[in-house]
Each structure stands twice: as structure tokens, then as C-alpha cells.
């Protein structure tokens, strides 16, 4: 999961949890606030009543010693003063039911004993609980709505900000990690950001890439220079041997030995030429301007290779289920790729074995499969078959120097062809080439 997505998730979830918690707590909170508020109102009323009595005497409320009771028309508030026979010292507030005229109403009631003229009185002030609760609902709704809007606003703000602040990271990932094609990394573009961490990350990646790039560059230059430099001495030796071969006073016996020398020189020449070819491919020195049908390319390879098939009496089957045209490719290189794979299939095949070559469309991709009935590759060796100069045990008896598959790999990478290899020891190998969509016409 991406960092941005994770942050967004965390943000939203944490806020939602807090809001839910708050909304759940809201009724009891509001109830509490309401009670405190009601209680303080009750106390104020009591103080007012007691003040009035102090100033005007108890008679202000109670004429002839009759009890006093007063309430508003909707009976949400009532006040009663009565003689108290019990000699208590009440001063508390609690919820009780009172019957006012025909209505039974739940009240929050303040009860207070006071003495005037050596007589005990009981003052009760009630506020209807319905009135109290009436306010709770709307309050809760408003609080919830306001919160919701605020949460949405903060999530949006968070989103925008994390978008903004993480943009450099996205850029680094897109252009420096995913976008850069190994080993050609392209040019360096500094990341625009004020976040130190990203700057550090960018610079560190850049430095690592530079190190890798320069190591690659050096290796390529070395191979290219070394093989170029070897060409001239090989050339001189080859010419010298050929000229000696032509001389009339050289005995046949000596000529055979010259030929041995030439054969060894040939081996050196092949290795050098192959290394040079690989370095040229890796340095992008080949044009990709050819268009060719896979069927005709396979035919050309067959024309070159049929003598080898015949020599080993191999049954060669070509099955073009779906013919396709390769565009913007290098025909010379693709020819060599197929030649090497099929040549390997012959070399490592058994006498009178079978090779089947198939061109087919699998799902959306065009593939060429080369299946042989050869000696196969053990699973221990499989990861190393594309390494230069890696000669596997079973291939030692063959005339090869371990550069066939490295060429195949270089050419495949140059054309964005994916190679999949499956092999069973002593049963055979399958090399599958998956062509990139961009090279299909």
C-alpha cells in the first residue's frame, strides 16, 4: 500500500474514531451540562425568593399562613412555599414527580428549609425535566453536524497537504526508481522540495546510481577497448598464418600445425568479436529500423542451421500458429538471437532428438517457444545460464566458450524481449521469448 494511501486511511480512521467517541459521549455530557445549568438556575431562584422574603416578610408569599404555589401556564416552572412540620434542615436538588392540576410532571426540584419568625418553612422550586430534555436533542444534532463538517474539512485539508508534501517522494519513486531502466538511468533531475528528508533521499539515490553507472560505464568501456585493441594483433597473426600457409616450401605437416594455430586464433577471434558485439549492443550502437515477419526470420535461421540439424539427425518442427511482424527491430541481432537459441537446442540435444519451434499469441502477448529434447539444465544451474563465460558441467564437452546465452540476453534486453526458461534435467529445455507490444506491427 502506498504511503499516501496509508496516511489518508489513518487520518480518516483516527478522526472518525474520535468523532464517534465524542458523539457517543455527547448525551451524557449534555445531560450533565443541562443539570448543572438547571441546578444553578434553581439556586438563583431560591436566592431570589429568600431575598424577597427577607425584605418583604413571609407574608409577601403566604397570606394568612396559607401555603403558596405558583407556576407558569405550561407548568414548566413552579414555586411552592409551605409550612414545614418536620424539623429538618433540607437543602437538596433531586428529580421527583409532582402532580400539578391534572398533569403528572417529572420535575427537577430544589427543596430548601428556612426559618422565618421561628417557624419552619419548606421552599420547593421545580423545573420540568421535559423542558430540559427538549434542548438536548437539537443541541446534539447541531454538535454532530458541526463536527462532521469540521472532520470533512480537516480530512480534505490533510489530504491536500499530504499530497503536496509527498509529491517529491512520488516524483522520486516514479522517475528515479520505477522509471529508470537498468543500466541506462538517464539524466539527473533534482527534486524540488523543501523537505530535508526527501532531498537527502534524492541525493543518496543519485549518488548510488552514479556509482553503479560509472562502474557499468567502466566495464563497458573496458570490454569495448580491450576487444578493439585485441582485433589488430589478431588480425596480424591471422594474416601471417594465412600467408605462411600459402608458401610453397612449407611442408604439409607444418601446414597442419599452422592450421591448429589458426583454429586457436579463431577461438580468440570469436570470443573477442562476441564481447565486442555485446558491448556494442549495451552501448546502443545498433539501429532498430527493420521490420520482419517472424515466419521469414525463422525460415532464414532454418536455412543457416539445417546442416547442423541434418548432421545430428534432429527432427525439427516449426509451428507458426499466429504469424506476426516485428517492427523497429534490428534484424541482424534478432537473427543471431534465434540462431543461438536454436543452435543451443541442437548442440545440447541427443542424437535423433526433436526441436519444436512455435510462434503463437498467448493472451495479448506474442511469443516464440523453442522446445528441445536435450540434456536439460539442472535447477541449481538455471540462475547462472546467462552469465558470461559460465560453462555448465554438462556443456563442457561442447565446443563453446560460454557466450551464446549472454549474447541472447543482451539482444533480448535491447529489444525488450522477456526470456522465460523452463528445464528438466535429462528431459529437455524450453526457451520462451515474449515480445514487447511496442515491437509488434
Amino acid at each position: 500500500m502506498k504511503l499516501r494511501t496509508k496516511l489518508t486511511f489513518f487520518n480518516a480512521i483516527s478522526k472518525l474514531v474520535i468523532v464517534t467517541l465524542f458523539v457517543a459521549l455527547l448525551p451524557s455530557l449534555i445531560k450533565n451540562i443541562n443539570r448543572n445549568y438547571t441546578d444553578s438556575r434553581l439556586r438563583k431562584q431560591r436566592d431570589q425568593v429568600l431575598q424577597t422574603i427577607k425584605q418583604n416578610g413571609i407574608k409577601y408569599y403566604m397570606e394568612d399562613g396559607n401555603s403558596y404555589a405558583g407556576y407558569t401556564p405550561i407548568k414548566d416552572v413552579y414555586v411552592s412555599i409551605d409550612r414545614d412540620t418536620l424539623n429538618e434542615d433540607l437543602d437538596d436538588i433531586k428529580n421527583e414527580v409532582r402532580k400539578v392540576e391534572a398533569d403528572t410532571i417529572q420535575y427537577r426540584i430544589l427543596s430548601n428549609n428556612f426559618r422565618v419568625d421561628k417557624k419552619n418553612y419548606l421552599l420547593e422550586i421545580g423545573i420540568s425535566l421535559d423542558t430540559v430534555n427538549e434542548r438536548t436533542g437539537p443541541l446534539q444534532n447541531i454538535a454532530f453536524l458541526v463536527l462532521l463538517v469540521m472532520v470533512i474539512l480537516t480530512i480534505a485539508a490533510d489530504q491536500l497537504y499530504s499530497d503536496y508534501i509527498l509529491r517529491p517522494l512520488g516524483f522520486i519513486i516514479k522517475t528515479k526508481l520505477v522509471g529508470s531502466k537498468f543500466p541506462n538511468f538517464g539524466t539527473y533531475k533534482k527534486v524540488e522540495t523543501s523537505t530535508d528528508d526527501f532531498l537527502l533521499l534524492d541525493v543518496s539515490i543519485h549518488q548510488m546510481v552514479q556509482t553503479i553507472e560509472s562502474a557499468f560505464q567502466k566495464e563497458r568501456e573496458f570490454i569495448s577497448n580491450a576487444s578493439h585493441e585485441l582485433m589488430t594483433p589478431i588480425s596480424i597473426l591471422q594474416s601471417k598464418i594465412e600467408n605462411m600457409f600459402e608458401e610453397e616450401d612449407v611442408a604439409d605437416e607444418l601446414k597442419v600445425r599452422l592450421l591448429e594455430m589458426q583454429r586457436i586464433l579463431n577461438r580468440l577471434k570469436s570470443i573477442t568479436k562476441t564481447l565486442l558485439l555485446i558491448s556494442q549492443i549495451e552501448n546502443d550502437q545498433f539501429l532498430k529500423e527493420d521490420n520482419i515477419r517472424i515466419s521469414s526470420l525463422l525460415q532464414e535461421v532454418y536455412d543457416e542451421i539445417s546442416i547442423r540439424l541434418q548432421d545430428k539427425n534432429i527432427n525439427y518442427e516449426v509451428n507458426i500458429k499466429d504469424d506476426f511482424t516485428l517492427v523497429n527491430v534490428n534484424k541482424f541481432l534478432l537473427f543471431n538471437l534465434l540462431f543461438n537459441l536454436i543452435n543451443n537446442a541442437i548442440k545440447y540435444n541427443k542424437e535423433s532428438g526433436t526441436i519444436s519451434v512455435e510462434a503463437v499469441k498467448e493472451n495479448t502477448a506474442y511469443v516464440v517457444k523453442i522446445v528441445d529434447t536435450g540434456i536439460g539444465i539442472s535447477s541449481d544451474d538455471l540462475p547462472f545460464i546467462f552469465n558470461r563465460f559460465k560453462k555448465l558441467r554438462q556443456s563442457l564437452q561442447q565446443d563453446s566458450f560460454g557466450l551464446g546465452l549472454p549474447i541472447v540476453k543482451s539482444i533480448a534486453e535491447f529489444h525488450h524481449i522477456k526470456i522465460e526458461v523452463e528445464s528438466l534435467k535429462d528431459v529437455g529445455s524450453t526457451f520462451k521469448l515474449v515480445f514487447a507490444g511496442t515491437t509488434i506491427g
Binding site: I236, E246, R263, N266, Q285, I307, R308, Q310, S400, I407
Partner: protein, 227 residues
């Protein structure tokens, strides 16, 4: 025919000179661009072999310069710089052929002969081998007016190459360099030349004996033509 060899690697220039002199070319050798530039200004050559990697001169510049004073000469570029761009540039500038080092001397000779044939339009390209006649232009082998159609392209290439270097032993290496030279692969000791020759013999002896195609034991093959 006069050949100017422009090659800074003296040992190689010397071998080229020996080989081409033995093949009856008249050779002159230059080891650097400036002396070559003087020579092409004064003399006329049939062939100019230019090494692109000269110490004092860009080989392609020299080619351009030489074309002015020697427009009729045939130019063959020799180089260890096997970059394709050079190749395209060289051929665009009017080089007739291109050989990447290291090359076989026989290959150089056959390229030069091909250029000569092209330039002078040699018509007599039918060679008689025993009861067969080989038409190098139409790439046909006939036996008493009937075409021997079983011969493949590769097999014909082999026969043509041996005819070109007639009466001379051509080694398997030289043959395989000519036949498979452009293919880059992992084999350094392929003996498929023998298989090809075996096929050629089998296909041709169905019509007539092929004693003109000789195996030189341990060395290679030879086509004998009595001149």
C-alpha cells in the same frame, strides 16, 4: 592492378602486401594519412584499402579526399572500429566494401574480385568443372543442359568461394568464416563445412564424378581447374 594499402599497423600492412603481391597485385604501402594523401594526389590506383583508425588522419576524411583525385578507384575500408555508423558513413561516401578486422586474407581477395567483376562487368562467369558448368552470375550449376537444382544457397556459396580461390587449398576456417562469418555464435570449432561438402558430393555424383573437388587431408578443400 595497382593497390594502395593505407594501414598504420606495419606488421599487418606487410602481410597484406605479401598476400596481394603473391596474387599479382602491384602494391604500395602507407603507414599514415599524410603520406597517403600525397600518394593519392600523384598516382592513380585501381584499389585503395583504407584503415579508418589512422593516427594522424580521420580515415573517412581521407576517403573523401582520395575520391577527388582517384574517382575510379575501388575503395575497401578496413577497420577494427566495427561501429555500424562508420559502416554506413563509409558506404555512403562511396566506399565499395567494408571489412571488419580481423578478416581473412582470402575474404579480402574475394571481396576485391567481386568489386572488379561489378566494376568491369565481366561477362564470362561460367566456369567448367568436369561435366558441370557453374554460372556464378545466375548462381546455377548445370549438367548437360539440365539444372542441378538440389544444390542449396549455402552449398553454392561454398563452391563459388572455392572456384574463386581455385587451385589453392582453402581451410575449413577460411570457408566457415566466409559462410558463417556474419553470425555471432558460441561455436569455435564447427565441422559443418565437412557436412556441406559431403552433401555437395552426394548431390553432384548423382550426375557425374566430382574429382575436381579435392579434399586436402588435414587441411581443407580445393577445386582444381586446369588453365
Amino acid at each position: 592492378m595497382n593497390v594502395l594499402i593505407i594501414e598504420d599497423e606495419k606488421a599487418l600492412a606487410r602481410e597484406l602486401e605479401i598476400f596481394l603481391s603473391n596474387s599479382n597485385y602491384i602494391c604500395e604501402v602507407c603507414y599514415d594519412g599524410s603520406s597517403a594523401s600525397e600518394k593519392v594526389g600523384v598516382n592513380l590506383y585501381d584499389f585503395i584499402l583504407i584503415d579508418l583508425g589512422l593516427p594522424d588522419y580521420d580515415g573517412l576524411d581521407l576517403l573523401k579526399e582520395a575520391k577527388k583525385s582517384n574517382p575510379d578507384a575501388a575503395y575497401v575500408i578496413l577497420t577494427a572500429r566495427a561501429e555500424i555508423n562508420d559502416r554506413i558513413k563509409g558506404l555512403d561516401m562511396g566506399a565499395d566494401d567494408y571489412l571488419a578486422k580481423p578478416f581473412s586474407l582470402l575474404e579480402l581477395q574475394s571481396r576485391m574480385q567481386a568489386i572488379t567483376r561489378r566494376k568491369f562487368g565481366l561477362k564470362n562467369n561460367v566456369i567448367v568443372l568436369g561435366e558441370f558448368s557453374v554460372n556464378l552470375t545466375d548462381r546455377l550449376i548445370t549438367h548437360s543442359a539440365a539444372e542441378v537444382s538440389a544444390i542449396t544457397k549455402k552449398e553454392f556459396d561454398l563452391i563459388a568461394y572455392l572456384i574463386l580461390h581455385k587451385n589453392r587449398t582453402v581451410t575449413r576456417n577460411q570457408l566457415s568464416e566466409h559462410i558463417w562469418g556474419s553470425i555471432i555464435n558460441d561455436d569455435y570449432d564447427s565441422n559443418y563445412i565437412d557436412a556441406h561438402i559431403k552433401n555437395i558430393r552426394k548431390k553432384l555424383t548423382a550426375f557425374a564424378p566430382v574429382e575436381w573437388l579435392e579434399t586436402v587431408r588435414g587441411l581443407g578443400y580445393k577445386i582444381k581447374i586446369n588453365t
